[in-house]
């Protein structure tokens, strides 16, 4: 058996512990798919795999137990799934053309969740379209609000939804619900002043608890969607760490631009001798210094005037 494992991995198949058997990884941006695709996945698993499917930690599917020889047939069956999920592809019928940039994960967002400040699915798909396929090892995750159910601080780019609360004092009856909600569930950014409410913009994280708590709609959401961007969290053996806040009150376009710019930065500075050609971005930034990263990442980025940028950034994390 002669298999080019490098090409196989790029094609989103895996070298498994079972000699001669591979696993197919299906990317599902935002973890959101039409239910009809499930029967297609079932068909692949039952026809070419061992009849089981793993729901991956990055919200995709992994179909194990596929003989290497069946890869072309699996790729043919993946085609309608790839097209339905609108995944960029180099050539039709040949499956995925890269695997380095991982599936974009997202919480359920405002398709369903009342707390979510935006549609995580749509933004995940937009990022997917912009950055995939790419062999560089990038992890992007989105979450609807600062509850961070998607654990985005564990990723290179963590995107948390924010809303800039608007306060109409004429609709406020001083019931205290917002102040209580903010204090008990969020950062305590609200105080009562003369029978009305004052918001400390510095400590406000834009979670929207005040809006949800308000019984008179004195608090409403901004029409503009805002985001907190956290940077360069990671798991791994060397030095796992949480992503640090980079920009508060950022906008969609800027975040997309920063991610794309970071590809250029990584292409320039990645350690070509890194095992498997894979290096978490954070280690590269540790090497070049934050300023150099910042210089690359912020090229041609025009942030909204509300944006607060934190720099330089320092990471903590576990050191063994």
């Amino acid at each position: 058996m002669d298999i080019n494992t490098k090409e196989l991995k790029k094609n989103a198949f895996r070298i498994t512990k079972h000699r001669g058997l591979t696993a197919s990884r299906i990317r599902v941006p935002g973890g959101y798919l039409d239910a009809k695709l499930l029967s297609m996945i079932q068909n692949i698993a039952e026809t070419y795999g061992n009849g089981t499917v793993q729901i991956t930690s990055r919200q995709g599917f992994e179909i194990p137990g596929i003989p290497f020889a069946d890869i072309p047939k699996v790729n043919a069956l993946l085609q309608p799934i790839i097209e339905e999920l609108d995944i960029n592809q180099a050539e039709k019928g040949l499956g995925y053309s890269a695997a380095g940039t991982r599936n974009i994960t997202a919480c359920i967002g405002n398709n369903v969740c009342p707390y979510a400040c935006y549609n995580t699915t749509n933004f995940a798909k937009r990022i997917e379209k912009a950055i995939f396929p790419n062999n560089l090892h990038f992890k992007v995750a989105l979450t609807g609000c600062p509850n961070d159910c998607a654990k985005v601080r564990m990723h290179d780019f963590g995107i948390m939804g924010m809303t800039l609360p608007h306060y109409d004092a004429d609709r406020c009856v001083n019931c205290g619900a917002c102040i209580k909600a903010c204090k008990r569930k969020s950062t305590g950014a609200l105080t009562s002043v003369n029978g009305k409410v004052a918001r400390n913009h510095e400590s406000c994280i834009g979670c929207g608890e005040c809006v949800l708590a308000c019984p008179t709609r004195a608090w409403t959401r901004s029409r503009e969607k805002f985001y907190r961007l956290t940077l360069l969290g990671r798991t791994g053996k060397k030095n796992p760490r949480l992503g640090e806040d980079f920009i508060k009150w950022a906008d969609e376009d800027s975040i997309l631009k920063i991610i794309l710019n970071t590809y250029d930065y990584v292409a320039k500075y990645i350690d070509l001798t890194a095992p498997g050609g894979k290096e978490h971005i954070g280690y590269i930034v540790d090497r070049t210094g934050f300023e150099e990263f910042y210089h690359w990442a912020m090229k041609d980025v025009s942030l909204p005037e509300e944006a607060d940028v934190y720099k330089p950034l320092y990471w903590k994390g576990v050191k063994y």
Binding site: N110, Y118, N119, G176, G195, P215, T216, R217
Partner: protein, 339 residues
């Protein structure tokens, strides 16, 4: 007099009125909902008929026009007091039959319940009402059972129909403006509903014994005491006072009154630290009986007009109409206990 007008012509009428009136109607507030990417329907000033939302119920009622959510009654300095001026313009309010019946309840509380309330009166006197007919009821409406599905107390009525905008005008000052633009003069009866999906029945034998029923206990844990049901209610009339002193000059300030809610903390706080109705089940009991018992005993009609907004807004899915329908069982329970 009845008239049929085109949309263009009715907008001319609105434009004509705008010289003398501020025109309020339920309108769509994009992104106005509590959750992201949801809208809401509030009362607000409108410029054209197209802005008026007919096919959905407004989340909040017209009430805030007659009774502002937060209203400054007067400003004070060390030696003087000054009331803010009343609005100069007259107002037109578009509303449905249930809400027009609610105006009667507000009038009872603010004009005929002891002395007249001057702040209410000066806003009330400037308002004319245009009835929005209801072709069909919404899911939570129970106006028919509350006998508020029809009204005659409007200045004009307005219904959208395929043949045009149907107007029944009772205000002779407006006949000219309609007659000069109408496609046709014809008797018009405003749309009204004769049945609703949600039905309620208030038991004839309802008495204060119902206070002893266990039916209220479920709300101790279900209700979160947020007050949304009160704030969307077109007939809740309670307010509380705020005397505040300006922070940059503590010798001047203002007195405001703001809407209050019998479901929230603080409503029954008294001097000395006492507080009645601490648990939410008893607050629910107080509210429900006020709406369908106490008020009726004094004024002959229930306070609730069956608009169903409280059902629509409750984040805990507590249904007021469902609660009313439990009263009969609750009365049986307390009567059996006594027997």
């Amino acid at each position: 007099m009845g008239y049929i007008l085109g949309l263009k012509e009715i907008n001319e009428v609105l434009l004509h009125w705008k010289k003398d009136y501020v025109i309020y109607a339920p309108k769509l507030i994009p992104d106005g909902g509590a959750c992201s990417d949801t809208d809401s329907i509030h009362y607000g000033e409108i410029q054209s008929i197209e802005e008026i939302v007919f096919d959905r119920k407004s989340d909040f009622s017209f009430k805030e026009i007659l009774l502002p959510i937060s209203e400054t009654l007067f400003y004070f300095t060390e030696d003087s007091v000054m009331e803010p001026a009343a609005p100069e313009k007259q107002a037109i309010v578009f509303l449905r039959s249930c809400d027009l019946h609610a105006v009667k309840r507000l009038d009872t509380m603010y004009l005929h319940n002891g002395g007249e309330d001057p702040y209410y009166k000066r806003l009330r006197d400037r308002v004319k009402f245009i009835l929005m007919g209801c072709e069909e009821s919404f899911e939570s409406c129970f106006c028919v059972d509350m006998e508020t599905n029809r009204t005659e107390d409007y200045h004009a009525s307005l219904d959208l129909s395929e043949e045009g905008v149907r107007i029944d005008n009772k205000n002779s000052d407006w006949d000219e403006v309609f007659a000069s633009r109408c496609l046709e003069e014809r008797d018009v009866i405003p749309n009204y509903v004769t049945e609703t999906e949600t039905r309620v029945s208030i038991p004839d034998n309802l008495s204060l014994d119902i206070m002893k029923s266990t039916m209220w206990n479920q709300y101790d844990s279900r209700c979160i005491g947020c007050g949304r049901c009160n704030f969307v209610c077109p007939t809740c009339t309670c307010f509380t006072m705020q005397d505040i002193f300006y922070t940059d000059n503590g010798k001047a300030g203002e007195r405001r009154r703001v809407w209050a809610s019998c479901m929230t903390d603080g409503f029954t706080d008294v001097a000395g630290g006492g507080s009645y109705r601490k648990n939410n089940g008893q607050r629910m009991r107080f509210k429900v009986l006020h709406k369908v018992y106490d008020y009726k005993k004094r004024n002959g009609i229930p306070m609730c007009v069956g608009c169903g907004r409280c059902d629509d807004v409750c984040p805990e899915y507590i249904s007021f109409s469902h609660c009313i329908n439990q009263l009969e069982h609750g009365m049986k329970e307390v009567n059996e206990d006594e027997a």
